[in-house]
């Protein structure tokens, strides 16, 4: 599988969320994820003056259940009914020049205009910053947001572009070779979620 460069969980039910690994540890369980999303919802309210202009935009697949959860939390905290969009970044990736197989496209669904909205991008795992760069370019094709902020449940921190994550669930220092994956217990992204760090097996190294 060629998806090592973008270690995000997939909702494809036929595919296990992570390749077999020599070792795997859970760094966030469902309770911790829920707690982090409640805290982030409070921070979003605190950080923004006109919270009624917010627009949550999930980066699929991992961002989708997280954005849904954040929208629920913001409804409870501030009584807001915010639009939730889904924005696939694949067509904006900077690594499509290779000769390999093209990555599958995911769903894009933007129910509201982004003009004059403060868009909060929601991703599961931030690392190099390349996905966020792609998401910002994609967003601009939909209009002119008043501002863009970024939520990441996990920040691995191996940034390659000058991109800042505004709201972080948990900083998790990892080796570049490790994979960090958000997944449901059943393999998809339904039900209780967890974040696992998987170290490649010896055979997997350099493969």
């Amino acid at each position: 599988m060629r998806d090592v460069a973008r270690p995000s969980a997939r909702s494809d039910p036929e595919r296990p969320a992570a390749p077999p690994a020599a070792s795997e540890r859970v760094v966030l369980d469902d309770t911790a994820i829920r707690r982090a999303l409640v805290r982030i919802a409070h921070e979003i309210v605190e950080r923004n003056d006109s919270i009624d202009r917010l627009y949550l935009v999930a980066i699929p697949n991992g961002g989708v259940p997280l954005a849904r959860q954040l929208a629920d939390n913001l409804r409870e905290i501030a009584g807001l009914e915010l639009p939730v969009g889904v924005l696939d970044t694949t067509l904006y990736r900077d690594d499509l020049a290779g000769s390999g197989e093209r990555p599958p496209l995911r769903r894009t669904e933007m129910p509201s205009a982004v003009d004059d909205r403060v868009v909060v991008l929601v991703d599961d795992v931030a690392n190099t910053g390349r996905t966020i760069r792609a998401a910002m370019d994609a967003l601009m094709d939909f209009g002119r947001p008043r501002g863009v902020q970024v939520v990441a449940l996990v920040d691995r921190g191996h940034r390659e572009l000058p991109i800042r994550i505004d709201f972080v669930g948990k900083n998790i220092p990892t080796h570049a070779r490790e994979q960090v994956v958000l997944r449901g217990r059943e393999g998809g992204l339904e039900g209780p979620l967890e974040v696992v760090v998987a170290s490649p097996s010896e055979r997997g190294v350099g493969a």
Binding site: L91, L96, A97, R102, P104, L105, T108, A138
Partner: protein, 310 residues
Amino acid sequence: MMGRDLLGIEDLERADIERILETAERMQEVGLRDVKKVPTLRGRTIVNLFFESSTRTRTSFEIAGKRLSADVVNFSPSSSSLKKEESILDTARVLDAMAPDAVVVRHAVAGVPKRIADVLGAPVINAGDGAHEHPTQALLDLLTVLQEKGRIDGLTVAIVGDILHSRVARSNIYAFTKLGAEVRVAAPPTMIPAAVETLGVKAFASLREALDGADVVMMLRIQRERLAGAYVPSIREYSATFGLDRTKLRYAKDDAIVMHPGPVNRGVEIAHDLADGRPSVILDQVRNGVALRMAVLYLLAGRRSPAQEG
């Protein structure tokens, strides 16, 4: 998975077809945006090499390429000056030296896209070769039926018209049978290839029998010049027997859809009032053609792997 080129549906696995269709469904969203352009193929060059003119197909590929930000160059040598295979391949080699990332080929002779693919470094997409194949047409037809019916598996598809000379029919026979549909063909016996049943279809000399219980009725364009006595007595007789109107459509299922690859000979293969609007989905086919070709270009353009044998 899929090879480097798209030369025909015959070469594709079911999984390849499904992957192209899934990609095309995603591409449709781009066409609904205000800014209908994504940067995916920026800096890549797509050559439309059309030895046989076809404004519709060429334009569809051109819009598809441009929506993906590729530079699209149209090259239409007059086919009269390029009858010999050597000069066709010379043209292809000259183009190849300009390092395109994909070449879309249409030619009146079956097999030319394959011959060109053999000498080119770039992926070749067949946009119709003789009576052989027209793979992107069949794929956009699948996409259209999928949207209308929600499935292909188990559907009954009747293809009506000059099956013998039709690359659209051939590609659609492969496409729909590979995805589990029952395919019937209907035409005067002179227009049905001898061994058509080896392709897994049932042949009918009666339109009524072919349409009985059909979910999809696909009408083919009749080339008027072919009708001048050699295959059927007259256009009027063909139209009376195999032309589709609302009365004959009643033989099919109540919710049957009518398709046509275009351009339509109104009043010949389809009655005037049946060509526009429901249950005809002819303009949906055109619309889906752009998304489908975007998907094919996305999956193939720029993938310059060394010639894959096997």
